[in-house]
Symmetry: C2
Subunit: 338 residues, 2 copies
DNA sequence: TATATCTGCGCAAACGCTTGCGTAATCTGG
DNA sequence: CCAGATTACGCAAGCGTTTGCGCAGATATA
């Protein structure tokens, strides 16, 4: 039982390997009948073209990389679904890499992509990513990069984001309309463009309502317990706070638990709105008013843009900026009570 | 500016390509000083070995595949983290494929692995997977497969599971101890070994408490709304039900919402325990008594077993069965009230 | 009928790396 | 001082595809 490769097929059919190769690629250079015969034998012998030989020969790997900070957050889980869906549909493979929010890891990972392992990259930068030389270097090697959600401002490429500023603006307005007077915003790394955007929307809403506050952005980290402490301390230090807007799904837990620890009732004493994508929002205690990003669609769109660029050998990735709106869903955590 | 490949290095250093190759692999055949020189030049020229050429030459891709049903569930999100962690640490790459619970897709995906694209597979079978010929076929080609969570019973390979029967047994006992008299279990595909295990643990607990019930397993599907209806109908049809044990994270929502729709109070009228891994369990309404699987560790362990097997060229994957226990965390959804 | 255009296929050189084997040169012990 | 072991490296044949180019024979154009 010999290995079944293209040579084997060629011998059995008395054809050359190049004809087999082209037949399998459905090349116009090969006659219909020959193609037919090749396909039949290939199926019969259960021929599977060697992926690495193809990639080496053609200098294209039919593989894309997804580089993200984590998959704890349901946002990224959903986004992966979207990316995988379009990749699978177009015969692409998806490599996944986690940076754990660390710039150094992100650099190492991208650097390794210069090996030709992937044709393109879909990524969301880490919270530490200030310098972007590693991304530029990769692009300089001809590997297209598409951002989704967390983009690097100074890189001129396609990006898929949500209307961060606008969404936060709406969420903040919502809180203010529900009689909140003193707000606080929970954020992560301020390096991130999305964090800045969200803060901006927040500030704009406050300004339009004639409210001026200071020190009202709490910078949280990765550890839920520590974040909870942070929120608790803030709420204790400034008893007037009656509204929390959380810019990350993970921080909802900290907000809820901090309130619980201080015997602050949601929404009675404090109202909460959060960026949140998990379905559990509806069954939280109380159910959570959410800003939910179209995570699946964002992943899908980002992958689509990348694959479209990969189709052209010239790799013309237009620096377009696709914005998919988030939706505000009002639930009990901001429902006015008394 | 020529392409920098192994040949280029060889020319610059007046060495042969084989020496370069071996030096980069830190082979014992190469002298320390030579290695040093090679590494220095490689770094200086920013040399990155071509991944596909390496794979082709060595017949090893340093890549593993993760094949799972979905990533909606936080279980799989966490498991991916675990898998990626050990893969990254050992210089392996992770390809991800979603079967969307469909057998046919699973078959196609595994079939494609015969192309040598991956060295091994870590997988959790789809809900439809009854026949396992496609998995056997892959193993016959010398590609090791490790199961995690959802395993195929009839395949003799390494698997990492949790103590499904025991956990459900404990969860059920917990409900019964809290005065529940009539239980119902929410399940998905009964083909799955884990479903059967969980049902078995449930039945055993009932039996030990001298309770015999029938038609007390509700087979749910993928659609949350439909599942909610299903649960609602069941609760309506049999008003005596005062305990629900859900074997899947996703079904918690359906259970909670069905109860809400029928104005059944949790835990007063109905007590609920569920397999659940997300941190949101603590802030649900009411907070949820959970059986949480060590998802991260399971992924980590599965990947470790696979990579260990890949180290030996003889690929000796012992058919061991690693069981990592889940933990029952009691919260308000089962806390006795009146 | 001679010339140009297709059609369908084969030749052979990449693609960039790995690895079995061979072989000088150096080292070891008796 | 010499046989055998050891060290450090080179040769060259793969690994399995892809693809530019060439070339017959068939068909179309003038």
């Amino acid at each position: 039982m010999d290995k079944v490769n293209i040579k084997r097929l060629a011998e059995e059919l008395k054809l050359s390997t190049s004809t087999i190769s082209r037949a399998l690629q459905d090349s116009y250079q090969i006659g219909a009948e020959t193609k037919q015969r090749v396909l039949e034998l290939a199926k019969k012998l259960n021929y599977q073209p060697n992926a690495h030989a193809s990639s080496l020969g053609s200098r294209r790997s039919k593989t894309i990389a997804v580089v993200i900070p984590e998959v704890f957050d349901s946002y990224f889980a959903l986004a992966i679904n979207g990316i995988e869906a379009v990749a699978q549909a177009r015969g692409y493979h998806v490599l996944i890499y986690l940076t754990h929010e660390r710039l150094q890891l992100e650099q190492e990972i991208l650097h390794a992509f210069q090996s030709g392992r992937v044709d393109g990259v879909v990524m969301s930068v880490s919270a530490e990513t200030t310098s972007t030389a590693h991304i530029q270097a990769l692009r300089a090697q001809g590997v297209p990069v598409v951002f989704f959600d967390r983009a690097a401002d100074d890189i001129d490429t396609a990006r898929v984001t949500t209307n961060d500023a606008e969404s936060t603006y709406q969420g903040t307005c919502h809180l203010l309309e529900r009689q909140c007077t003193t707000l606080v915003l929970l954020s992560i790394s301020r390096h991130l463009s999305i964090s800045r955007q969200r803060i901006e929307g927040y500030r704009r809403a406050l300004a339009e309502h004639g409210i001026s506050q200071r020190d009202d952005v709490i910078d949280c980290g990765q550890d839920p317990e520590a974040n909870c402490e942070l929120v608790k301390n803030t709420l204790e230090a400034r008893p007037g706070i009656d509204g929390i807007i959380s810019t990350v799904e993970m921080l909802t837990e900290s907000a809820y638990q901090a309130c619980a620890a201080l015997h602050l009732r949601i929404p009675h004493d404090v109202k909460v709105v959060s960026f949140y994508n998990a379905r559990s929002a509806a069954i939280l205690n109380p159910s959570l008013t959410t800003i939910s990003q179209p995570a699946f669609e964002m992943g899908k769109t980002a992958a689509t843009l990348l694959l479209k660029a990969l189709r052209n050998p010239k790799s013309t990735l237009v620096a377009e900026n696709v914005v998919l709106p988030s939706v505000l869903t009002i639930r009990n955590s901001t429902t006015f009570v008394g």
